[in-house]
Every structure is written in C-alpha cells, then in structure tokens.
Amino acid sequence: MDAKKKNNRAWFLVLPVVFVVAFTAIIPLMAVANYSLQDIQGADNRLFVGLDFFKRVATDPNIQDAFARNVTLSMQILFIQIPLGIFLARLMPKSGWKASAALVVVAIPLIIPWNVVGTTWRIFTRSDIGLGGVLINQFTDYNLSESTFDAWATILVMDTWHWTPLVTLLVYAGLRSIPQAYYQAAAIDGASAMAVFRFVELPKLRRVLMIALLLRFMDSFMMYTEPFVVTGGGPGSSTQTLSILLTTIAIGQFDIGVAGAFSLMYFLFIQIFSFLFFTVLTLDERPGATKVTPKLKSKAKEENKEKPVNSKLKKVLK
C-alpha cells in the first residue's frame, strides 16, 4: 500500500519558480487588481470606488467595439494562417539542403522585431513611395489612412506575412515526426493524398496545431505594435485593437483605475478563449473518468478478504 503512495517532495524543487513568478506575474497582477478598485489622484489622495471602474469599462461603447473588432480580427487571422501554415509546411522539401534553405527563408519574418515589421509595412504600403502601395494603386484606389477596408486588409496581410511562418514551422516539425511506416501503410492501401492528409497527418498534427492555434490566438488578441505603427488604430478607430485602446487609457489619459479594470477583464477573456480552444482540441485525449468504484470501497473489501485468509492460515499453521 505504502509503496504506491506518491512522494510529493519533488514539488519543493518548484519553489524557485514560484518565487520568480511571484515577482514577475503575481505581484504585478495584484497591483493591477489593486488599482482597479481605487481612484488615485495623488500620493495621499485616493478614493475607494469598489467595482465602479469595472462597470464603466463594461458599458463603454469604445471598449465594446474594440473587443468585437479584436475577436473578428483574431478569428480571421486563425482562419487564414492555420490552413495556410499547413499548406506551406506540406510544400516544403523534406530533406537535404533544400529543406535547410526553406527553413531559413520561412523563419526570416519571425526574427524581425515587431516595430520593424510595422515600419517596413508602413513604408511598403505608402501610395507615393511604397512599392506595394504604388503597385496596388495602378489597379485600384488604395490608401490605408483613408479607407477602413484598406487599413484592415493591410493589418491582416501583414500579420499573415509575419506569423504564418510560426504555424508553418510548427506543422513542419510535426510532419517530420510522423514515422514513415504510416505513409508506407497508406501507400499499400492505395490511399489518395487527401486521405493521407485527413487520416494520417491531421490526427498526428493535433497537438502541434493546438499549440499553433493557442499561440496565434493569444498573440493576435494582444496585438499592439504592428497596427500601432502602420495605422495608429485608424482611420478613426477602425483598426484600434484592445491593446492600443488600453495603452491609450493607461498612458495617454493616465486613467490607471479604469485601465486596471480593463486589463483584468482582458485577461479573463484570454483565459476563457484559450481554455475553450484547449478543451475542444484535447477532447479525445483527455484522460477518461476514474473507472473503478471508489477506491476506499475496494480497499475496504480487500482488507476484509485478507482477514479471513490470514486467520485460516494461522489455524493451518497451528
């Protein structure tokens, strides 16, 4: 019985991490939560306002609009980048120098700092001196500082250019880890390329895709730098993401109480979306219900069974 008992002392090894996380995440989170409950006017002048800031944030039409916009943007990004990433990963060479070269080329956008990506695209899309802007203007009117659609499409294309490689690399790594035996078995069965993808590759890629989906969702839901540099949230507020709006409130207006409440609600929604994605994608892999009847009952039965045997043995021995 005791041999089965788990030794949990290894948990003490986690203590240093707990300590670090306390300073990098928990205390800052506490500070944010703390600010969200009070209106601080000065060093010694503060007013406890309870949940007022939360109510103000939840009923603010600007924040509601930004939330809807951000959800739409994130869904569009996932809808484009995940299939595109899988498609590109399947096209990439499997071995040799071509594979190495393809990996380097694909990874280039990932190593560029975010504000540099923004600046590059800002210049690239200018209708007077930008290659992309001038080119598109030959066919149709394009001006991202005037047209909402142009600004939105530019953000979408830029993000796709910047982050699809992440999905591609993850999927590529996932594809490489599938044993050749699966492909050989599929070939013997005469499976079509589509069937191989559907029944061999896709199930094997599930975990990798889940990571890609979570990373892309969280990143896109927190997107700040690129749209800030390219459109500044405009025209109007048509590309203003939640992060941009939050920064405006926190730093521009120095409304720390409202920003604190906003941050906590933002945090909550990222938690909810990520949990839903994670749960849905790991539904098949989740460990099943504990099947045996409650352990205590079985233990009790075993103990009851042992006793008569023991007493019989003792009698025999006597």
Partner: protein
Amino acid sequence: MFDLFDWIPWTAPIAYVFIGVAVMITGLTIWGHYRPPVRRKGFLGIVTDRSERVYIAIVSFALVMVISFAIVDSDTMIWAISALAMAVVILIWG
C-alpha cells in the same frame, strides 16, 4: 529601508481575494495528496477532476460578473449571489 508594502496603497478586498486564491490552491494540493481526485463526467459534458472544476467555477463566476457589469443598473449583489450559486453547482455537479 525599503518598505515591502508601502510602494502602493493596498486595499483590503484585494488582499482577501489573493489570500483566498492562495489558500484554495494550497488546500487543493494538500487535499489532492491525501485524497487523489476522482475524474468524472458531469453536466458540463467533459471529464474533469476537482481542481479543473474549481478553475471552471472561478472563471464562470468572473464571466457572469463581467456580463452583469455590462447591464446598466443591474444589482451587483443579486448577480454575485447568482454567480456564486452557479459556481457551487459547477463544483458539485459539473
């Protein structure tokens, strides 16, 4: 000397909430050590153990509260009690 608490004007409710969460996590860890959690499927439709239900209950509670904030002139107390009841239902039958 650097004062550990004076760098920010702390409020009591935040202390209660965070101490509550810390106690809950510690309690669940100790409980899990002596009574390993039983995984089961409730009305949520997914197999969960007790700590997962605690997480779902807390997040659901917070979500209901946020929804209540978005409704103009809603009574926070009534919503909080309803959300708490929902959290308890998730904990027991979820």
